[in-house]
C-alpha cells in the first residue's frame, strides 16, 4: 500500500502550557513494496509519525493516505478496524502491547480479534513463535515473566500473526542479542519480499538502515531534514552529526582510513572481508 503524508502537523496537548508540535508540515511518499528507514534524534517525532499509520492518532493538520484509507483532522476514519488489520505496528517498548495471560494467547489476540478461524490461529501462533525464535516452552508462560528480549519477540510474533500488508517497526532490535538482531531483521526482510509488503523501520541503528532500506527519511525536531537512498544520506556525515546522528560504522572507518593513507577508500557495498582485502593492499602485501 502506498503511503503519503501531505503537510502533516501533529500537536500534543494543544492549548495547554505544554503544547508541543511533534510533527511540523511533514510531507513524503513511500511506494508499495519499499523499505523505508526513519531515523532522527531522541524526541524528533518518529514514534508520533508512525502512530498515524494505523489511525491510532490523526493529524492535527494535513492529510495521511495509506492505500485507499485517508486520515484527516477531526474526522473519525471510516473502516478503522480494517486499517488496523492491514497495518501492523511493533511498538518501541514491547510491554505496551502485551496484556494477555499467556504468551500463546497474546500472539493469538490479533488474529482472533480480526476473525481468523480458530484452526488457522493455532497454525499462525506456532509459525510466528518459530519465526521470532521463541522456545515452545515459553508459550504457556505469562508474557510478563519473560526477559526483555523474549518480550520483544512475543510482541513481534503477535503482529506477524495478523499478516499485515504494511509492517511498521519501532526500534525492533532494541533489546535483542546480536544473533537475534540479525536473525529478526533478516526474517522481516524475507517476509517483506515474499509477501511484497510496505515496511517502515524506525531505528537508531544506521547499520540496519544501510543494510535493509531502499530510502531513508531523517527527522529533526518534527521536520523532515533529509531524504534519499542510504548511500546518498550517509555520504553527508556533517549534516547528520548536526542532528545527533552519524553514519554507519563502516562509513566511519572508511573515512578514517582514507585520511590515514591519504587516498580515498570509497564505500562500494563491500563487506568486512572485502574491506580487509582492500586494507591489506593499502598496508602493503606482507607476502612480497
Amino acid at each position: 500500500m502506498d503511503i503519503t503524508f501531505e503537510k502533516v502537523d501533529y500537536t500534543y496537548q494543544a492549548n495547554s502550557p505544554f503544547e508541543h508540535k511533534a510533527l511540523d508540515s511533514m510531507s513524503f511518499h513511500l511506494p508499495t513494496g519499499s523499505v523505508t528507514a526513519i531515523v532522527g534524534h531522541t524526541g524528533s517525532g518518529k514514534s508520533t509519525l508512525i502512530q498515524h499509520l494505523n489511525g491510532l492518532i490523526r493529524p492535527t493538520n494535513g492529510k495521511v493516505r495509506i492505500g485507499d484509507y485517508v486520515l484527516e483532522p477531526k474526522k473519525k476514519p471510516k473502516h478503522a478496524k480494517a486499517l488496523r488489520e492491514k497495518v501492523g505496528i511493533v511498538f518501541q517498548y514491547p510491554e505496551h502491547q502485551l496484556f494477555e495471560e499467556t504468551v500463546e494467547k497474546d500472539i493469538a489476540f490479533g488474529p482472533r480479534n480480526f476473525g481468523v478461524p480458530e484452526q488457522e490461529i493455532q497454525k499462525r501462533v506456532a509459525e510466528s513463535a518459530q519465526a521470532v525464535g521463541l522456545r515452545a516452552d515459553l508459550l504457556k508462560r505469562s508474557p510478563f515473566e519473560l526477559s526483555g528480549g523474549q518480550m520483544r519477540r512475543v510482541a513481534i510474533a503477535g503482529i506477524l500473526a495478523v499478516r499485515p500488508r504494511v509492517l511498521v517497526l519501532d526500534e525492533p532490535t532494541a533489546g535483542l542479542d546480536p544473533r537475534g538482531q540479525k536473525e529478526i531483521m533478516d526474517m522481516f526482510y524475507r517476509i517483506h519480499q515474499e509477501q511484497q509488503l510496505t515496511t517502515i523501520l524506525v531505528t537508531h541503528s544506521m547499520e540496519d538502515a544501510l543494510a535493509y532500506a531502499d530510502q531513508v527519511l531523517v527527522l529533526d525536531k518534527g521536520k523532515k531534514y533529509m531524504e534519499g537512498t542510504p548511500v546518498e544520506v550517509f555520504s553527508q556525515r556533517q549534516a547528520l552529526q548536526q542532528v545527533q546522528l552519524d553514519v554507519p560504522e563502516m562509513f566511519q572507518f572508511l573515512l578514517k582510513a582514507s585520511d590515514r593513507f591519504g587516498k580515498p577508500v570509497a564505500y562500494q557495498g563491500q563487506d568486512v572481508e572485502r574491506l580487509a582485502e582492500q586494507l591489506a593492499a593499502l598496508a602493503g602485501d606482507p607476502n612480497e
Binding site: G43, S147, R152, E171, Q244, V272, A283, G284
Partner: protein
C-alpha cells in the same frame, strides 16, 4: 574493596521452576566498570535485580561494599545502589520529571535545598532540564531513558547498574550519556555495571562478564574477549566491527600482533606496517 560480590549464587523464580542462575560468582571492584553481556534470557536482568535486593538468591551470598545482603539491611544497602531498568516505565513514580528525580532524594533524606541543586544538575547532565514539569509517561522513548538515568545520577550512589539503559538513544546521545556516566564513575570511584547488547560499549568497559544460559561463561577483559569470535557467535553473541575486520586481515596473512580495541588502534598498526615497507 568490592563494590559487589556474588558468591555461588543460584536463583529460580518459583520453587517448581528450573534455575535461571546457577552457581554465579563474580566481583566488581570499587571504581571499576564491568560490562555484562549474554543472549536473551541468559540471566542478566535477574543478576541486576539480585544486586539491589529486588530478588533474593535461592542459594549463595551477595555482598555490597563487602557487607552481606540480608532481608534486614536491604533498605540501607539499596540506598547505595542506583539502578536503571530495561524499561524506564517500570521505574517512574513521580507525576512530573522533577518529582520523579526528587523521589529518590526524598527517600534518602537529602535536605530540600540540596535536593533542588541535585535535580537541576542531574537533569542538565542528561539534557532534560527543559522537561522539568513534563509528565514522564508523555516523553519519547529516549527521553524516558535520559530521565531514568538522571534519577540515578542525582542520588550519587556507590554502585550504578544500567540495564540496557541507553538502547533507545540516538547515536551521538548514546555516546554522550555514556561518557557522562563514565566520568561520574571515575570521579566518584563508583562501581559501574552496564548490561548491554552494544558490542562497542563493551569495549569501553574494564572487564566483561559473559553469561550463557544462567551460568558465567567467562570473565575477562575486552581485548581477550574479542579473540573468541567463533565461540561467542555460537552462544548468540559476536565481536565488534573492528575485531571482525582485524580477524579478516589476519586470515589474509596481515601480521597484527594485538587485538585492536577501536578503529584508531587498527589503523595505527596498518599504517606502521605500510611505513615499514
Amino acid at each position: 574493596m568490592h563494590a559487589i560480590e556474588f558468591r555461588n549464587v543460584s536463583f529460580r523464580y518459583e520453587e517448581d521452576q528450573p534455575y535461571v542462575l546457577r552457581n554465579v560468582s563474580f566481583q566488581v571492584e570499587t571504581g571499576e566498570w564491568l560490562a555484562i553481556i549474554g543472549h536473551n534470557g541468559s540471566g542478566k536482568s535477574t543478576i541486576a535485580k539480585l544486586m539491589n535486593g529486588l530478588l533474593f538468591p535461592s542459594e549463595g551470598e551477595i555482598f555490597i561494599n563487602d557487607i552481606p545482603l540480608t532481608e534486614e539491611n536491604i533498605w540501607e544497602i539499596r540506598s547505595q545502589v542506583g539502578m536503571v531498568f530495561q524499561n524506564p516505565d517500570n521505574q517512574f513514580v513521580g507525576t512530573t520529571v522533577r518529582d520523579d528525580v526528587a523521589f529518590g532524594l526524598e527517600n534518602r533524606g537529602v535536605p530540600r535545598a540540596e535536593m533542588m541543586e541535585r535535580i537541576t544538575s542531574s537533569l542538565e547532565q542528561v539534557r532534560m532540564h527543559d522537561y522539568l514539569l513534563h509528565e514522564p509517561y508523555r516523553l519519547s522513548g529516549g527521553q524516558k531513558q535520559r530521565v531514568a538515568i538522571a534519577g540515578v545520577l542525582a542520588i550519587s550512589p556507590r554502585v550504578i547498574i544500567l540495564d540496557e539503559a541507553t538502547a533507545m538513544l540516538d547515536p551521538l546521545g548514546r555516546k554522550e550519556i555514556l561518557d557522562t556516566v563514565h566520568r561520574v564513575q571515575a570521579e566518584q570511584q563508583i562501581g559501574l555495571i552496564t548490561i548491554t547488547h552494544d558490542l562497542n560499549e563493551v569495549m569501553q568497559a574494564e572487564r566483561v562478564l559473559v553469561m550463557n544460559d544462567g551460568e558465567v561463561w567467562m570473565t575477562t577483559v575486552p581485548r581477550e574477549l574479542v579473540k573468541k569470535q567463533t565461540e561467542l557467535q555460537q552462544i548468540g553473541l559476536d565481536v565488534p566491527f573492528v575485531s571482525q575486520l582485524a580477524h579478516a586481515l589476519q586470515k589474509l596473512g596481515v601480521p597484527l600482533t594485538e587485538e585492536p580495541i577501536d578503529h584508531e588502534e587498527l589503523l595505527d598498526t596498518l599504517w606502521t606496517l605500510h611505513s615499514r615497507k
